[in-house]
Symmetry: C2
């Protein structure tokens, strides 16, 4: 019986933490894991990259769409993408989880399992956390990362003449969202990619190695996120619909099924956590060229023109 | 007019962040601050200490008792205490803040001001964050810290014969909570200490330097937190009411006013974020001896006996 499952309140904070922590294998970078006031992480090159993201129930995920395991994977993946976008590799995550006292303890375990599965994909561990009572689910993750001796790849250093390239998927999450919203059961892979993004792990590091001049991850939408690079660098970024044709074409069936627009998803849909970067030289394997950096007043244009469609995700 | 103040929704995520970030001076350890996908923090000795705590409205603070500035200070202080408790010094914080769209933007600014004020007390900066929509206030902070070349002071290494000592206040937050709950306007300092704890910054580092064998901060209550050391170390911790007499006597007036028990607050009240440690040798300046570590089955006792009062804070 679902209503007889032990709850967080019944198992208690420390009991739940004991269960979640039991049997986990930390990577070498986590020299002291959960169980003390703080964890200790190796920072081999004398610097630590750090970023944090909060996910709130019914705003960033729905418990009737996502399993707790999905939510755990998503929370880790989107934080990991922020570290990748600096040209670094994740080493460890810490997690704060707020949930109602009547939440099944098994749901917290599944959330943690999802987090560990995703963290393992990028070679990192969950080094610590906090578990508190809240009227709805709130998952707040902080990621630490290692630059491996290189300079961080920032947003402010794209230069005219650079090629613009992307690694990872575009528009899938937006298309998947439209499918969920319309109650359409087809297109499993797109619906799954809305729930659990697939950042191209390792490609941030590869881009930095290949001399990327600027980089970010696609969290708010390709145009919005490239807008940050364009503004910070004082350049025009000109995207090519021809180069993005394959991304568009992968979504036309979902567009037909939902009445959505494949270009809106490719250019405006966020949450895929692809990486987009500018390269003065050759683009490394796993990246596809989608445009060019030009001189001019900061802007992102498509085929030389302002885009008229959906500009991307708004936080409020 | 209060209802005409610009809200988070009106100013927008990036507008609010721009205002919060403007004019802040980062400490040297923050080599790359807000404005990119992630921040970069110096980790001079090749390790980073990390801990995270989430504060939820009406669970960890009340907006009719605390100002946003108080909440910001509290969130930073309690995270800083976790790093101090390892014998380390805070270097930087990252902050995720969830709040309703109709929250005044000025409230987010005041929260940030409080965070910066408290971070400055420990020589650290706010290196980055996330701002999201949520149906109530949720403040999730992660602290990074520097061990300065020393080993972390853990919980599992207290030894029979060690002295037990405390730095910082005990029971003030518990007494202050009772005053607030009873609507008593006297005892300003105690009521303030419930809203904004005063961790003894620098004493974690000093304790490590003095050879502390184990340490933690008092977040759940002195008996509960020493219980973690007793269990992890497999020792008895024996506290002396005589040595704690001054802590008790500072609270007797508040106990009389509220019908509370000063010993319950000293031994069971959490959230003061004092540091408590065990020392094989001399206790450094700023610490007061409150008991002794003895051989035996893991337990915390008071004058050699189990304590019958309030055992401390429960998360669920």
């Amino acid at each position: 019986m679902a209503d007889r499952e032990p709850t967080l309140a019944q198992v208690g904070e420390f009991g739940v933490i004991d269960r979640i922590v039991a049997g986990r294998r930390q990577p070498a970078a986590v020299t002291l894991g959960p169980g003390d006031d703080a964890a200790v992480i190796t920072a081999a090159d004398g610097r630590t990259v750090v970023s944090t993201d909060m996910l709130v129930q019914d705003r960033h995920f729905r418990l009737d769409w996502s399993t707790p395991h999905d939510i755990g994977r998503k929370a880790i993946a989107q934080n990991a993408a922020d570290v990748e976008a600096m040209g670094a590799s994740p080493t460890a995550f810490v997690v704060a989880f707020g949930a109602p006292p009547d939440t099944p303890a098994a749901a917290a375990q599944a959330l943690s399992d999802g987090m560990w599965e995703e963290a393992a994909r990028c070679g990192a561990g969950i080094a610590g956390g906090d578990l508190v009572s809240a009227p709805l689910w709130v998952v707040s993750v902080t990621v630490l990362g290692d630059l491996g001796g290189r300079a961080p790849v920032r947003r402010a250093t794209a230069r005219p003449g650079d090629q613009v390239a992307v690694a990872g998927d575009l528009g899938r999450s937006g298309a998947g969202y439209a499918l969920w919203l319309n109650g359409i059961d087809d297109h499993d892979e797109l619906r799954k990619q809305h729930l659990v993004p697939k950042p191209p792990y390792g490609q941030g590091f590869a881009a930095a190695d290949a001399g990327a001049s600027a980089m970010t991850d696609v969290s708010d939408g390709l145009l919005a996120d490239l807008g940050h690079i364009a503004e910070a660098s004082g350049v025009v970024i000109d995207l090519s619909t021809r180069a993005l044709g394959a991304d568009h074409d992968a979504l036309t069936a979902a567009a037909a099924a939902t009445g959505g627009d494949a270009w809106d998803w490719v250019l405006g849909g966020g949450e895929d956590h692809a990486l987009v970067a500018t390269f003065p030289g050759a683009v490394p394997a796993g990246w596809r060229v989608i445009g060019r950096v030009r001189d001019g007043a900061a802007a992102v244009v498509v085929d030389g023109q302002p885009w008229q469609g959906n500009p991307g995700w708004q936080s409020y």
